[in-house]
Amino acid sequence: MSLLKEPDLGTPARKGEATVDVEIDGLSVAVPEGTSVMRAAALAGIDVPKLCATDSLEAFGSCRLCLVEIDGVKGTPASCTTPVRPGMTVRTQSPRLEKLRRGVMELYISDHPLDCLTCAANGDCELQDMAGVTGLREVRYGVGEGENHLDAPTDSSNPYFDFDASKCIVCSRCVRACDEVQGTFALTIAGRGFDSKVSPGADELFLDSECVSCGACVQACPTATLEEKTVVDLGMPTRSVITTCAYCGVGCSFKAELRGDELVRMVPYKDGGANEGHSCVKGRFAFGYATHPDRKLNPMVRESITDEWREVSWEEAINRVATGMRDIQERHGSGAIGGITSSRCTDEEVYVVQKMVRAAFGNNNVDTCARVCHSPTGYGLKQTFGTSAGTQDFKSVDDADVIIVIGANPTDAHPVFASRMKRRLRQGAKLIVLDPRRIDLVRSPHIEAQHHLKLAPGTNVAMINAFAHVVVTEGLVKDDFVADRCEDFDEWSSFIAQPENSPEALAEVTGVPADDVRAAARMYAAGPNSAIYYGLGVTEHSQGSTMVMGMANLAMATGNIGRDGVGVNPLRGQNNVQGSCDMGSFPHELPGYRHVSDDNVRDIYEKLWGTPILPEPGLRIPNMFDAAIDGTFKALFVQGEDIAQSDPNTQHVNAALSAMELVVVQDLFLNETAKFAHVFLPGTSFLEKDGTFINAERRINRVRPVMKPKTGKHEWEIVCEIAQAMGYPMRYDDTSQIMDEIALTTPTFSGVSFELLDKVGSVQWPCNENAPMGTPIMHKDKFVRGKGRFVPTVYVPTNERSTRKFPLILTTGRILSQYNVGAQTRRTANVTWHPEDILEIHPHDAEVRGIDDGDTVSLASRVGQTTLRARLSDRMPVGVVYTTFHHPVTGANVVTTEHSDWATNCPEYKVTAVQVGLATGRQPADEAAEAPPVPVAGN
């Protein structure tokens, strides 16, 4: 594909039918009411000259290039700010307009460096284009002869882009992009008249300002003023490949723009269903890890984990895995081996691993890293709604009137969706935040939560029960919806109406005044469209699954399911958490969330795969570790995950891995788990993969190879070759055949193919004969399970309690610039913003411990301790401390415990009793005598 330049229609689309007929330059066109003349002209195939207009931003009307003539209208109005009227007759070209436009261009060019041939934006500059379009041949005022800005300095402080003020035409597109698209309001136009200039914050450098480096301003800039450093260094890209980001569960579509095989930049794709042209600092800029020198490109083996690695051929590595696995099965039984799939790998890569386990290994010992993040979502939504997925598409938030954010921090962890949510909040939607910590959403430019309920960590279920109690006892139930669509309501409502579930009774537990809870619950029930968005602050608790069911109960009771603007929406952590779960990665489920005990489902696979499937569940990840220590589990294939870092109770994990005879790691880097491995199989980055990711809204997006695998093989090919070497025939000619098999065997995917995705861009499952173009909103007419099921959710306090020895509660989260355990982002310039994990502690808690801002402190729980730097912050309530988990060296989660969700074993990362004190010397976790390195909150 050559370089893809998407059409720019000048101003945003307006909703509605195309009912307004206008004539432009003799061409008729019908457009929705409110559409600008500029956009109508573009839709008719007529490009009106423009500089300050772009269709991602509302019209501004400053550049005066887009002037037109309209019959019956005096003067020459700007086409960008003039809405169409029925019967309007417009001319976009006339001698008068040409003269006016040339005059405007002369003024622009008189204060612009004419270094086009050496300019980084040469060939991608709208000012250059407009000079051509308007027929500019001379500049009567000279160039740089009068007062000008040609000596304005360049701000190179941002690691990813430069701001060359000498090339700025003050069109305000960057300022408006920061406001309207990103919602950060970091930029402004400082000064007046000729002194007007773009200013990050109060005349600060970009790096020092509130800029979050999302790239929206760079994207919007029509000149070389804001330009990616990679373009400055390498030159303009020459071809594009549309693919999907490898970071969070938003699943943004990008144009990977290259020169030859060299990736120059990632540009958000306007037609991307999830992001619609927006991006964040990770997806837009932090792709350098894919070519980082730490990457391993050759397979390696060793006899013992104390030996040095030895590079070998693919054949030798694959045979080592196959013979090792079979040998262990002969000596210890077929259930002595298993595999773990990755949420960072494609659906196709995950599918073949679970197939290898079930068909070649002959057991169900397959699990996925979702075990430690969203497995309670799978359980809770399956029990209540009938399927393990969020109910809405991201666009749905545009119709929400009340938004509840529970245990999520979207501006840091899901920033592109957060921008969409913030836009809706600025339009007037109400916001309720349930979080111990004052996340940025609580109060940010032009946004303020109506309610921030700072509940005590570990009391989610008590809080959601209190909400539901208000709904039931104050007559706020949507009776018709419940009667028509749900079951088991009477039992649930009797339970929830009991006095012990009232906000008053639970105020002491949650720490939130009853009146505040009642007011928030009434607001949610009143809607009319109320939506719940949640994250790992819901799932990573001992009652994570119970809380998911509690939210589902609340949504059903108030009728907030089955249409735009409502729903129960998990914000998935990693790019393909949804997909890895969909693909049968859980030990009790085949693809499509169908239990292995179902004879009919097993029959589908047994016939196709030509081998029996066991009807009993296999081991989950924590159970694998227990079994390894018991001596019944001896070998593990680990795809793209770092369980030695990411799973809790690391001493236990390390002991389990050490007890195994064969550990196989497939990854980009020699991670912590590889320290226990006998075979290392180098993996491919997202730039090399061919397949699909599925995001948090069930959107199946294509991941297209930007370059050939640097390792020489796709990961799915390696897995197939291992299966073959074990005697099980598993072959595909290309990746599309794997998706074809998924579609053939999984009813919710039966309409999916690469051909369809290439044709329509993306679809959201279920995609089948009932929904050939996918299903943006689920449970519209009926729930997947038929009737929505109410489940009583008794609050059971966690066993993890603060004590005299450990009086504080630690909870964890993420920061914008880093991702998960940091394996990717720590290998990029994103470390500029977050070079280390910080412990946030309330000033009162700090004062009694003699801790000042910036001090190095010890953080200890009953299972381990580490040290890190403290920051005094009243974002946390007294008694609660907070940190991120991105840096192994600080080992922020070394202290988390073995407690887990009762239904799924998802670790309780969000509640750990700790003590904090001044450190006598810095002692990173991986050097601590008793503390194992780096456990981590999930995905």
Binding site: G335, N364, N365, F495, S542, Q543, T546, P587, H588, H595, S597, E616, P617, G618, L619, R620, P622, N623, D626, A627, D630, T632, P792, V794, V796, S900, W902, A903, T904, N905
Partner: protein, 71 residues
């Protein structure tokens, strides 16, 4: 005492169903274990029961007894 993992997990499941009538709770707990536990986990739990089942929640113990029967 420190409970073995499967006994601890069984107790954590049991307490979630403690509000239900006894027989219903026991059936639900057993059903959950059949649905989500590998057979060797169930076997280890039964061995623990056979060894006295110290500190095992009575509901969990009753559910374990149901596991001895075919589903």
């Amino acid at each position: 005492m420190t409970l073995p993992p499967n006994a601890r997990l069984a107790n954590e499941i049991a307490i979630q169903f403690a509000h239900r009538p006894h027989d219903e709770a026991v059936a639900e707990i057993a059903k959950h274990m059949r649905s989500f536990w590998d057979p060797r986990m169930r076997r280890l739990l039964l061995e623990y029961v056979d060894a006295g089942g110290e500190d095992l929640d009575p509901l969990a113990a009753a559910a374990a007894e149901q596991l001895r029967q075919p589903a």
